[in-house]
Each structure stands twice: as C-alpha cells, then as structure tokens.
C-alpha cells in the first residue's frame, strides 16, 4: 500500500462515512465541496444585491421602521440622474480618478524602471518607496492635513521656498481650486508604490535573452524600450490601472480625513455622498438606487476594460 496523502486520508476516513461516499457520484461529491462556497456567495453577495435592487424602488428609510414603505417606481433613479449636485460629485470623482491613475502610472512605471536596474542599495530603496502604501489611510490623511496646514505645514513652506510666496497665502485643503489637487497628490504619494511593484513584476518577467537578441540585431536602447519593454509590461500596467481605478472609484477614508468632502462639495466624491445619503440622511431607498447606478457604472467600465486587457494579453 502506497503512503500518499490520498491513501492516508482514505485510511483515516471512518468506515461508515466511507460507505456513504462510495455511493455518491463524482458530480455529487463535487457539489458537496462547492455548496458552502455557493451558499456564502448567495448569502453575502447575491441576496444583498437583489435586496438592494428591490429597496431602490421604494421610499424605505432604515431609521424609520414605523413608516409605511411605498413603491415609488423609478422615481429614485430619475431624481439621482437629474440632480445637478450628483453630477458635480461624479465630475469630482472623474477628476480624482483620472489624475491619480495618470500620475501613478507615469511615476510608478518610472520608479520600477529605475529600481529594476542593478545598483547598490537597490533593496533598501525599494523598501523605502513602498512604505507609504503600508500606512493606514486614516494616518496618511491626518499626517498630510498637518503638512498642508497654511501656517505650520511643511508642504506650504516647500512651495513657498521655491515660489517666494507667503506660506499662509494659499490653502491646499481650503481652496476650491487647490483642494481637488491636494487629494490627488496624497493618493499618488500613497499608492504609486503599488503601481511600481506591479510594473516591477512585469519588468522582471521579461527574459534577458529577448534583450540579448535585440542587442545582436543592433536595436537601439530606445527601440528596445518601445518594442520589448512597453509591450511586455503593458498587461501588468493595465492590471494596475484596473486595481487602482476600482479602488479609487470607491475612495472614502483618505478624502474624508483630508477635506471631509469640502470646501463646499468640491471634493465630495460619489462614495462620500452615497455614505451621507445612506447612513447620515438614512434615505435607504434613494441610496440603494444610487448604489445600483454606481455598481452598473463600475461593472460596465470594468467589463469593457477587462476585455481590452485580454486582447492585449493575447497579442
């Protein structure tokens, strides 16, 4: 008798259980193993989704249990889609999403490219660069709040040093024109290392012989970069964009710590607005419709993006 794990498991199975299992088909056994996962998926994901869709057509308020729940049809959806304030929140989210991803990809890829070169202290620099993403967003938010403080903040003093301006003459978090950029800067500072790590994995996955072959063919470094490095790292880069896009679409903690959505509603991203509707105003039906609209948007965009990603991988 062999001493494989399977035979050990078979030997350890009580005879009564073994008899029962022997009577089951492979398909039935597979279902037994998969059933708990399917049950959890239904209970935790599918059921709440269906329930949320159901609530989105009502005027339900979770803080008013005695109130009559009325079916309002598509009224919640209509209100949301015609509310100019919500479109401003969408614009703020789009601005945040686009610029954070833009800067993180550019800086992250550049850092990865540099770190990929072999030099002394390479590991130390990698560790230092990835430190920000290991911090809690709440800590980062508070920390940058102090840096942006007009009277004592280091950030303002650095800008003042280079521009000759009075440090307290501009407010990164309090100015309508600067606040959207202040949150972009912090998110870029925190999450560029993540993009860098993914790009680094991509760069290290390129076999050396491809570059050696290119050298033999007398391809210039620039040509090697555009015809070997970029195409081979692109799927990794696109994956990083997908992750950061999904994460930043639901960005909440960092921005709440920094600006609370202000000044006014300048940095009130959709997730902050949704939280206010759902858990501060307790407009549960309305917030459910809002959540469904956001879900469909993210799901739709992500699906298109994943298809594009697969095409790039196939090339």
């Amino acid at each position: 008798m062999s001493d494989s794990p399977a035979s050990r498991a078979a030997a350890a199975t009580p005879p009564s259980v073994a008899r029962k299992i022997r009577g089951l088909s492979d398909r039935a056994i597979a279902w037994i193993f998969v059933a708990p996962t399917i049950f959890l998926l239904l209970a935790i994901n599918i059921f709440p989704l269906i329930w949320t869709i159901n609530l989105s057509f009502t005027n339900f308020k979770a803080n008013s249990p005695n109130r009559e729940v009325v079916n309002v049809g598509f009224r919640n959806y209509q209100r949301i889609l015609t509310d100019s304030d919500i479109w401003l929140n969408m614009q703020a989210t789009a601005h945040f999403l686009f610029w954070t991803i833009f800067f993180q990809v550019i800086i992250g890829f550049t850092l990865a490219y540099l770190i990929n070169k072999k030099f002394k202290g390479n590991d130390l620099w990698t560790t230092i660069i990835v430190l920000p993403m290991m911090l809690s967003p709440a800590v980062v938010g508070n920390f940058w709040k102090f840096l942006y403080q007009p009277q004592i903040g280091l950030f303002n003093y650095i800008i003042a040093f280079f521009t000759g301006k009075d440090p307290s003459s501009f407010e990164m978090l309090g100015s309508v024109s600067l606040a959207p950029w202040s949150i972009v800067i912090v998110d870029t500072w925190m999450w560029t290392p993540f993009v860098m790590l993914i790009c680094l994995a991509g760069l290290r996955s390129i076999p050396d012989y491809i570059y050696e072959a290119a050298e033999v063919d007398r391809a210039s470094k620039l040509r090697q970069f555009f015809t070997i490095t970029i195409p081979m790292v692109l799927p990794f880069l696109m994956l990083a964009v997908l992750f950061r896009g999904i994460e930043n679409f639901k960005m909440f903690d960092l921005v709440v710590q920094l600006t609370g959505g202000g000044p006014g509603s300048t940095t009130e991203l959709t997730s902050i607005n949704l939280k206010r509707e759902a858990f501060e105003k307790w407009r549960t039906g309305y917030a459910s419709a809002y959540a469904i609209i956001l879900f469909v948007t993210v799901f739709g965009l992500a699906s298109i993006y994943v298809k594009a990603l697969n095409k790039v991988k196939e090339r």
């Binding site: 979770a62 008013s64 307290s168 407010e171 609370g260 006014g264 509603s265 501060e280 105003k281």
Partner: protein
Amino acid sequence: MKTIKLASVSALSIAAASVAGSAQADDLTLCWAAWDPANALVELSKEFESQSGHNMSFEFIPWPNFADRMLNELNSGGKLCDLLIGDSQWIGGGAENGHYVKLNDFFDAEGIAMSDFADATVYAYSTWPKGTPNYYALPAMGDANGWFYRKDWFGRDDIKAAFKAETGRDLAEPKSQKELLEIAQFFQEREIDGKTVYGASIFTERGSEGITMGVTSALYPWGFKYENTPGSYDMDGAVNSPEAVEALEFYKEFYETATPPGYTNSYMGESLDAFKSGQVAMAMNWFAFFPGLYADPATGGDKIDFFVNPPQNQAGSTLGGQGISVVAYSEKQDAALEYIKWFAQPEVQAKWWSLGGYSAHNSVLNDPGFVDSAPFAGDFLEAMGSVQDFWQEPAYAELLLAMQKRLHDYVVADQGTAQEALDKLVEDWTEVFEDEGKL
C-alpha cells in the same frame, strides 16, 4: 449528615445572596459625547453608585462621530446604552421611532415636575411634539453657543489706543454682531508680542453640524425664522428672508476677513486650539467648555473673559445641550429610571453645576449666588433666555446635512450668492418634508 446539611445551607445562602445582589445591583451604561462635562458626570455619578448599589459604565463618543454612532445604535435597536444624553435635535426621531421611553407616568409617580426646570430647556430637550406636555427626556445639560476673548489683550493700553484710533470707540465686549466683526477685523493679522494673531475662530466644519451651528449664531440675531407660521412647514420667505441673506453675507465676510488661515473645516476642537495657542483674540464655542477654558493655566484665569452671542436685530443664541433619556431597548429600564430620579434632585443638580455641568434646574439657576458663582454664569443665564434650536423633526439629519452643504458651498467654497444658497436650502427642505408627508 450534619456536614452535608451545613454545606447545603451554606450553598443556599450564597446562592440566595447572589440572586438578591443581582436583583438589586445593575450595570448601567450611560452614553454621551466625549467632552469636559462628561468627566464631571463620571465624578457626580459616583454618589449614585454608592447610594443605589448600581454600577455605572460610560460610553463617551467624540463629537464628530457622536450622532452617527448613537443614531446607528438606536436605529439598530442596540442595547449598548441604558441611558442616553442625546442631542436636542434627536428628540423627534427618538420619540416617533420609539427609541426613547416616554417619561410622563414616571415623572408623575415620582413627583418630578417639569416646572422645576428652565422653560427653554424643557421645551428644547424634553418635549415632542414641540411644546406639548409629552416628555421623553429630563433636561440634563443646558448649553448655548457663546464667545470668549483675550481679556489681557483687550486690557492693554497700546491695543486700546490703536483700536480707538482705528474705530473711534473704546475696545470692549461687543454689543452687536457688527461690533463683533469690527473687533475681530481689528485683531486680524495684528502683531502682538512679536507674533501675528488673528481676529476670531468660528465654526466652519462641513462633516457634521459645525457650520450650521456657527451660521445660525448670526442668523438668529438677525431674526431668522424656520417657518412663516410655526408648524406649517411654510419656509419660503422665512428661511430666505432679506434678514437671513444679510446675516449669511455677514458670516461669510467674518470668515473671509477675520479668521486665521486654514480654518476651513473647524469646529469645537479647532476653536479651542486656536484660542489656547494664542492665535486668536476671540473664539466662539459652547458654554460647556467655559469652565475648562477658565481653568486653563496658559490662557485662562485673568487672561480670559466671556460674553453672550451679541444681538443685532434681536437677541439670539444657538441652542446646544441635551436631555437624558431612557433607551427603550434597555433591559435595565428600572435602574435607568432610578438614575433619572436621583439626577433630578435639587442637591444633585447643585453639585452638577459645581463640578462643571450646566444644570437646567430652577433651584440652581434662580439661586441668588448663581450669577457670581462663575465668570460665565451670568452670560449663560442671559444666553438661555434667547436660545433658538435647529429643526427637531425625525428627519433632522437630512435637514441638517442639506444646510451644511448649502452653507459650506457659499461661505467657504465661495460658490453662488447668499440668496441662492438659502433659496436652494428652501428647495432641499421642501423636498425632505414632502418625502416625510408633511407637505
């Protein structure tokens, strides 16, 4: 056999004693905001523990999360709190949604008379519907938004002379909102002892209730009304009246010309910090903080003085403060009611005031020595005579967040005009009341 009998009797005695003990002594949890008066209440409650045998635990939540945390607790039927000192605006929701125990029968049975408490506090903290004799809380902590200033700076000859030269009048506690702004503007970016100081710190916070509490401190003295006719929800022409527009424009001017840079999202904590760090000449904040400010070794004592929110067209202060309620989901309601009975006693209320809590009991407030008992006591009495509160409707959170948005958009983000901000606020509030079926 004798030994068995003895052991049985001993076991029974111990069991009986423990059962009796558990029937008598409960572990009560009181929930409130984390601030100076809460510490005073812990001290005060020791007396209740020794008298009743109950153990008191406390759950104090920082102000920015207080409403969120506690309203979630109530809405989910949570049993964390047996007693809750909830904000005045929660009374409507607390009563209509069945979160608070109605106290009328208990008050009648125990001889607790609401006439023993200041009328304004009973109206604001205890009754729902407003002004009716349906009580859901006992006034626990009277409070209003007031002001404090650097008395030592106001008393300096060089500063007094400069102020006189600039404005033509003597530097003293302001008698109107416009005087208040004039003084704040005078101090703005002034050099005092080699340091640049600023006029005043005011409330501009966006997330919870800050800017609304600040702006209403200007709106009420200008004669702001929520409705044209009380109880009608008819707001157009009242909320966006010319007086309200003028008051809002005033607050924006105050924010832009007389506050320190960077105070774009400031509330209680930031106001205290600005004052204690010597950045500002004046600051607005709740009376609840005044005992702590007066006791502060750096900026308290003879360096500080207090004044009531100045009038303009009329006297008016923003109401703070809370009532104490028994949570309907508590399994220890009898013990919780015992606490309220104990707390309502005049001698306990007197001790409450002496420890730093603001009693609303007439025996304390009408005491001849009350006005002189603290440098802010007289101002507190004056403020409580002209307080006005925000909506206390069950939908107060929706009403508050709408106001927070409109005010912050206008005052801090400089978007639109005061008239537009208030017109939009009327639209928002109308939508809320329509959803509530009240319009």
